[in-house]
Symmetry: C2
Subunit: 562 residues, 2 copies
């Protein structure tokens, strides 16, 4: 008798599982149960459809050559049965079958499996507040949501909207609706956006976003206010009211595990299905993949929820292989790489933030690099990277990068380095593709490694913008030197009591510096390269307590005088 594979879920992981399983064996019966009508949706593309980056909705559900990935396509091209609009209502492990129900016809039935794969995904969290049921309160999680918001864009009637939640989807939605000509306010309950970043990196993003839209942090939604069943505004937790005709909720997702739970499959402490590296659950005949699972963070060794489309595909590839030929393909885990476009900026992270590294007890060194991605003459754009590495062995632990420059390449480099266990020393002489249209002669990433090595070896001491600001607020006695030229100083400056002494004059003007060689001196420039050179020089002249403002003025996240 033919072997039977059942896959529950037809979004990202599900179709990948089924397709990989088919390639492993032409003669197994493979069935996907998909609750929704559509399947294999490019759900990460929803914000770009809503934002008008493209107009043809089918592009979200078709192959590169334009064939819609519907049940007919799956049957013809891959001999995979797709039962869409069909919900699995129960997993009966004892009998190795699932019970299902067609949501259109009401028809029910059962189907037997030899191996079952759960790819039920995740659902949007909703705040438990009044008015959540009003028309105009939505998420951006499904094709229907995308259709709804795209219609709003096309009609052009709505003028004011709020986005609740400053995570990846919230910010992508914010851009989409802003591009639709809607006046947006972003509301985030926590003190920072994009909580996977460090506060200071997130603050730079917040500052940038505020040039485009309104951003409110440390405030949640208390109530959705409505008239005749439609939203007219929201009341914030602090009592403020914001009029709006649309509210998009994007406060994270939770794994869909009720089917698994009811069947007695083990659920992890974070609420996701527990799987081993072969994506096998506590029942050896049942696998799971995608947003419904907990997976391992490879840097900390701890389990995490990592609901990303790329991981869903990789997990699905492993599960799809293993259900056919046994546990051969492993998915060891994630380093939680992520990236987000926001208008003309991008921001990304891979590995650990400083915050996470501290939480996990790592002893690490930090470097901040603010520099161009390409030469100025090739229209180079700014990147700000924070790199952290373990002190004892130099192993790279994490990188965050943001700016108008090519963030994607930087994060891809660091993700590969972290995945491979590379150290700062490995990256010092990185041999990356250099030509002026693509990179500086010393690529931004290699320069990060140089800075981190210089710091680790004690060639200079650094101070972050946040640390300096705290010192200023405390009224610490310091001598601050801006080492730029007068023209640059006229154009923009911090205005925190700094002395303007251009690097080229510093050797001649040492007499202007404090007599007390132990006094704290902070040097900086636009990106703190000249600031670094100044610090090294001053150290040579006997100043014992010189620090470089990391990332210079480019990474200053507080208000500037000018």
């Amino acid at each position: 008798m033919k072997k039977k594979i059942i896959v529950i879920g037809g979004s990202a992981a599900g179709p990948k599982i089924a397709a990989r399983a088919r390639r492993m064996d032409e003669f197994t019966d493979i069935t996907i149960f998909q609750k929704a009508n559509d399947l294999s949706m490019a759900s990460c593309g929803y914000p770009y459809y809503v934002g008008g980056f493209f107009d043809d909705r089918n592009k979200l559900i078709c192959t590169p050559t334009g064939v819609i990935r519907d049940p007919g396509f799956y049957w013809n091209a891959k001999a995979i049965v797709v039962k869409n609009n069909t919900e699995v209502t129960r997993i009966v492990r004892g009998e190795k079958l699932v019970e299902f129900k067609n949501n259109l016809t009401g028809e029910t039935g059962t189907a037997e499996y030899d191996k079952l794969v759960i790819a039920t995904g995740a659902s949007a969290n909703m705040p438990p507040v009044k008015g959540i049921e009003l028309n105009g309160v939505t998420t951006l999680q499904s094709m229907q949501d995308a259709d709804y918001l795209r219609k709003i864009r096309d009609e052009g009637k709505i003028k004011k909207a709020v986005v609740i939640g400053g995570g990846l989807i919230g910010i992508e939605t914010l851009e989409a609706l802003h591009l639709a000509g809607i006046d947006i306010t972003l509301i985030e309950l926590l003190p920072q956006l994009l909580t996977f970043l460090d506060w200071d990196m997130a603050k730079l993003i917040e500052n940038y976003l505020k040039t485009k839209t309104n951003v409110i942090t440390k405030n949640g939604v208390g109530e959705f206010i409505g008239e005749k069943g439609h939203i007219t505004g929201i009341k914030l937790e602090n009592g403020d009211e914001l009029p709006c005709e649309l509210a998009v909720v994007a406060i994270g997702v939770r794994p869909n595990v009720s089917l698994a739970k009811e069947a007695g499959i083990e659920i992890g402490p974070l609420g996701g299905i527990k799987v081993n590296e072969f994506m096998q659950t506590s029942d050896p005949d049942i696998y799971a993949a995608g947003d419904c699972c907990e997976i391992r963070n490879l840097v900390t060794g701890k389990n995490v929820l990592a609901p990303y489309g790329d991981l869903a595909n990789l997990e699905g590839r492993a599960a799809g292989e293993n259900v056919i030929i046994g546990n051969r393909a492993s998915f060891p885990g994630t380093i939680q790489t992520g990236i987000c476009k926001l208008f003309d900026y991008s921001v990304g992270i891979t590995g650990l933030s400083e915050t996470k590294a501290k939480e996990n007890g790592f002893d690490f060194e930090r470097a901040v690099n603010a520099s161009m991605d390409k030469p100025g003459f090739m229209d180079g754009k700014l990147l700000i990277t924070k790199l952290i590495a373990e002190k004892s062995n130099g192993r790279i632990l994490g990188a965050q990068c943001l700016g108008p420059g090519d963030v994607s390449k930087q994060i891809a480099i660091w993700a590969t380095a972290i995945k491979g266990g590379l150290t700062v020393d490995d990256m010092i002489n990185g041999d990356l593709p250099y030509a002026p249209p693509f990179s500086l002669a010393i690529d931004h990433s290699i320069a990060c490694a140089h800075i981190l090595q210089n710091k680790t070896r004690g060639f200079f001491q650094g101070i972050s913008a946040l640390e300096l600001k705290e010192k200023i607020n405390r009224g610490d006695d310091m001598f601050l030197i801006d080492t730029r030229g007068p023209d640059e100083y006229e154009e923009t400056r911090l205005g925190i009591g700094e002395h303007l002494i251009p690097l080229g004059l510093l050797r001649k003007r040492l007499n202007e510096l404090p007599e007390d060689k132990d006094k704290e001196i902070i040097t900086f420039c636009k990106i703190s390269l000249r600031g670094y050179e100044a610090a090294v020089m001053l150290k040579a002249f006997g100043f014992n307590n010189v620090k470089v403002l990391e990332g210079g003025i480019a990474a200053w996240l507080f208000v500037k005088e000018k």
Copy 2:
């Protein structure tokens, strides 16, 4: 007495050496001797200046904030003495001094050193043919060359030019002159352009370039023809004549080692100065860095000449440190990463080509991936990658990538992987930054690893376009299946005797296939993903000799029927 460092050469490596040395010690005397007037030129930017990507010549020799890097700048900002227009004429090792001559004033002198660094760069090769001295025969190696060619662009008088040499500089020059409105012919002596690539990858580039300019391979210049001292044409080795008013010679460079050689410093078998990993020559007080050195290829362990600006900087950083604090900083070698923009395409390589891997006796597996860099709905563009890895352990040996897509990121990923000694299995579950504006859910690079793993594990057999073409030419009896749809077939097709059987119909039309299950079957589609699925399926149905045309129609480098 103060320690004295002398650096010979002020282009890329020289200034880096001096700057790094200064940061290591404020109180050492550091002098750069530079033969030319300009120094610290962004020489890799010359083609983009000539091509009009920017107009301000000073951008090639100024800091990111616009300060010209002249002797005054070096003295003020870095306390480095630069003697420009001054040529070192002799190294007297016994007395630890150099003899120099000012090329403007004729003045001569000597200067003592404690440590000397040779960064004399490389010079352009010139063909030993008649007419080489004619006006209008030039290179693009110096600021003067750049000025000369930029003037030609600005004057707009010259209509026809030839570029001799299809390497990186030749192709960059070709683009620059084409953008200047000049009708160009590229002439390459060897059977392929960009000889660091495999022939088939280079052929794809040649095919693309031919849509923009004329390209002649397997033909060299026999003579430059002139009238009244100015070039009017060239005669090729096969006797053909091409009229032209300008000829740019770009047939490679050779290290400038005469000073070193005359001083009895050891020269390597490739003609470059021999250095250890600390960039130290056979004389322990003399270091060298940049294009004048031989360095180690980290994949083969053999020495190479690698005249790249990024490596010059990294070598200079190591040498600059070591001359001050002793041999601490190492530059272990190169994986010979390179990249080149050519109109709307880019092409890059890191590690070994197939050709080089064979030459060096590696037993390797190959994968070709033709796919988009981003989703179609985000304006994704094609990339074609050839990845090779060692058979025994999966260690990645090399990657070549080309196309209109984001080649730079792909090569950066592979360069980091090769530098780190990563294997195909490490890359299978790569955790790269994914969001639709940046990548497919399974990034192109990860898909390369998947293909290579599938092939290594015997899930399919591949055949390259070149291998297939050879079979066709030999008249081999094969059954070729194009698995695309009829619309796609109407639009473009190979026309090599293939049968059109769309993947979705293949299971139903197995009866059209050869009865002899051992007959060779080749499957393909646009990019050979459907071709791969077809091959896997046919294998399951008992066809024993099925191969996938690697890279599909996208990587077909021969003439197509349509």
